[in-house]
């Protein structure tokens, strides 16, 4: 079985074909809290992906396979995490003040340029 179901987790292994989609869907309906383990998943059929995207279950382990990790699961299921990884959210305590400081520094520089 490419999908192994336990009570708390569904583990997707190797190639998951369209035949598993219905089973996964039923399992998720019966176990709405169940987690999805994608670690050993090599490829999953679009129908299965669709079930995951539609029901948004908790994913416990991300796939190791390159395409799935890099593209398919990069931002659909966890848009926040991928964004934050790249944007390095930093919340300065007083953003306005910091901005002002930066701007002032910039302005003085500009002034220097104008009258050397």
């Amino acid at each position: 079985m490419p999908i192994e179901f336990t009570e708390t987790e569904a583990q997707l292994i190797d190639m998951c074909t369209i035949e598993e989609a219905e089973a996964l869907f039923e399992w998720l309906q019966n176990n709405p809290e169940g987690g999805i383990n994608l670690e050993k998943c090599e490829h999953l059929h679009t129908a299965i992906l669709q079930v995951l995207i539609a029901l948004k279950p908790k994913v416990t382990v991300l796939p190791e396979e390159k395409f799935l990790a890099q593209w398919a699961f990069a931002h659909i299921l966890w848009p926040e995490s991928s964004e934050s990884d790249n944007n390095q959210k930093k919340k300065p305590e007083t953003p306005k003040k910091a901005t002002l400081n930066a701007l002032n520094a910039f302005r003085s520089q500009l002034q220097k340029r104008k009258d050397p």
Binding site: Q29, A54, A72, A74, K90, P92, T99, A102
Partner: protein, 875 residues
Amino acid sequence: MNPLLVHFLSEARELLEDAAKGLLALEENPTHGATMNQVFRAMHTLKGASGLFTEYSAITKVVHAGEDLLDGVREGRLALNSDMMDHLLDASDLVNSWLDSIENNEKLPDGADHEGEALAKNLRAWLENPDGAAQDTQQKREQKILQSVSWLQQLPEHQRIKAFKESLESHDPLYAIQYTPDAQCFFTGDDPLHQMRQTPDIRSLRITHQNPWPATELFDAYSCNLKFQALSTAPKEELDEHFLYIADQTEITEIAPHFLILPTGDREESEILAEFVEDALVLCEDQAWDSLRKAVSSLLKTEDAALWHTSALRWIDLLLTYPTPRSVWIETLLSAMDKNEFSGWPDYTVEENGQGESDAALEILPAEKTMFLNLIQAQKEILAMPCTPDCREGRLAAVNQVLKNCFTRLNMTTQLDALKKAIEASGEACSLEPTKNLLTPLLQAETQQQSASPATMPGVGAALTKEEGRRLGRRASDREPQETRQKTLRVDQSRIDNIMDLVGELVVAKNSISYLAQRAETEHKNREMSRELKDQYSVVNRISEDLQSAVMQVRMLPVSFVFQRFPRLVRDLSRKLGKKINLVVQGENTEADKNVIEDLSDPLIHLVRNSLDHGIEMPEVRRATGKSAEGTIQLIAYQEEDKVAIEINDDGKGIDAKKVKEKALSKGLINEEQAEQMEEQEAVELILQPGFSMAPQITDLSGRGVGMDVVNSAVERAGGTLSLSSTLGKGTKVKLSLPMTMAVTRVMMIYQNNQTYGVPFEIVVETVRVNRSEIYQIKDREVVVLRGKVIPLFRLVNVLGLPPEESNQDRDLEAILIIRFKDEDVGIIVDDFAEGVDIILKKMEGIVSGLRHFGGTALLGDGSVLLVLNFKELL
């Protein structure tokens, strides 16, 4: 004629045909770049070729004007419309008629120069004054592309940044791919995710849903609701090939790298920023990139990364990392930050951020408008359908929803109010009428407006100009499409005919060897010689048969040769008649002998015209009878055993058998008794009788008194059959069946009065010898009972009007040739049977051409002439 001119003529015709075909395809799909290029190339080549002949400069002038116009369209300066198309087609027709004239007397018709100049002027007028059709500027086209790929901004920013960098560095073109799989695609074995996995050089991927997810209990795991959006740097051909089988579900758009510069995030007003932008713009002007970069990076450290303007700053920062930053992009971004939205590429970011004014602010494309009108039209049709009181309410609600959305998008506020009232009225009156009545005048007004001002065709993302192509760093290899050198020979038809004749003579000469073998044995008593001759005969026979089929192959033409003129015919006629017609052509690659194809063209044109004129009803009538306003004419060609079958089907009003009977009665073609006994199918076939025309009034197209009977006899003359079936109200189906080749015919020889005659093999069912006592006399007709079936008999001697021969009177056994005649078995009593032979059938020519009783003549191996009987005329 000068051989160069001969070549020019045939080439020019081909080019014109290509151009006309392409133009028609463009009318359907004005944004198809490849077709555009094909038409343009055809015109261009023709211009060059005609330039060789200074005496025909009129051609060059017209074609040049056409080429310029097409160039304008191709570069997006002009939008193609129906009137422009008419002019271009006129030009192609005019040049075609000139070519005829050149072919006949090597000069252009009188006044050609003048005529050509007028047309060229017409064509050029489009360029100077595109007649209201807004000129598509570079910027506008770019905007259209951007709108069509507005989903780009939903791709993760880091992926976009990466793709942008790569594209700038490698100069590879970028393609935006949107793949919307069909809901049923899983059932056809598609795995869209796998498709995307295999996509070459993928740079970004976003997977989203097509429609909002339904409630869990309604969720169907096997109906695909996902949509894939991606970027790729692979060459276009590779992508096209990859998505070949799902081309209808994918949109591949070439985009410039800077299209990816799309700030995203939450918007926030900030006065400080306004000041920064002001200063930054100055720096930008001075190209003081280092200072600007420092400022930007210090700002980036402090600003909230999730904000829209921070995103813009990130892009500016990225652009500044290049040694010579593009100031245009940076300025655009800066001024966008100032206004808190893109001014250069306005509004398409609005939707996603939910901050925009309203959807109404978006420009309504003409194509979009047509789509909405179609939607409204569909609602009207829905309302017109009969329905039970139970479903009325639901239908009203559905229609209301759709119309409301349409009107909102189209900014038709007055209509919105009217709709609300009409819906209420409909509810009170328990009838759909009030709502329907609202739509009728609205639609009429819109269609008038549309026809008055030729709609601009959307040119989204299709034709990139040369300049743009270069800018996008298009690979050198695909700038000049590699044309594989066609390995074809252009040969004059008379040469092939000549070979055909020679092959015919060879077949006859070959047959004489077997006579020689016979003589060697009987007259010279040399069996050895006879056997050797027979051996040699079989070798020559094999080679001549191969040669024959090889020549046949050369003469084979696809039926598209005739079919290709129909799109134009249907287009012109349907415009003239005000009917909407969809022509479906299938099996145009089916091949048949050139002569057959040529014989076919006139009957086919007649049949298609008939369908157009009498078959398909006017749109209003069609709608009233519950059919779609657009009629369909199908032209289907296929091979059926050794015949070519062509069907012309329409879904028009069909043939009224009753009316046909009445008409036939009044014309005296049948009597009342016959009329009563006649079945519907038989009655319908009455229109094939000579002198029958159904058209109530004579129109420009058909109904000139010559009707289906002419078609029928033309088909029969070509050795084919025509069958007709029709269902009243549903449509008519005409099927032509023709021999694939007419050159070599196999006939069976028979003896009568010491003469040999040929009977085409395809009608021979069997040969029997029957005892004279088994032939019965019923009234004046002889019959024979064969396997429990009564078969009428004819004596060939009587049929041909030959003198009866004494010697035959006392024979016990009669030789009967059973043939298939009009779907029935008929027996022909002959003197004796002989062998079957392959012959080259020559039509009766000269003073005997009127003798329809014979299908033709052929030369036999011993030099005698064989007459081939034509039973259709004889019996």
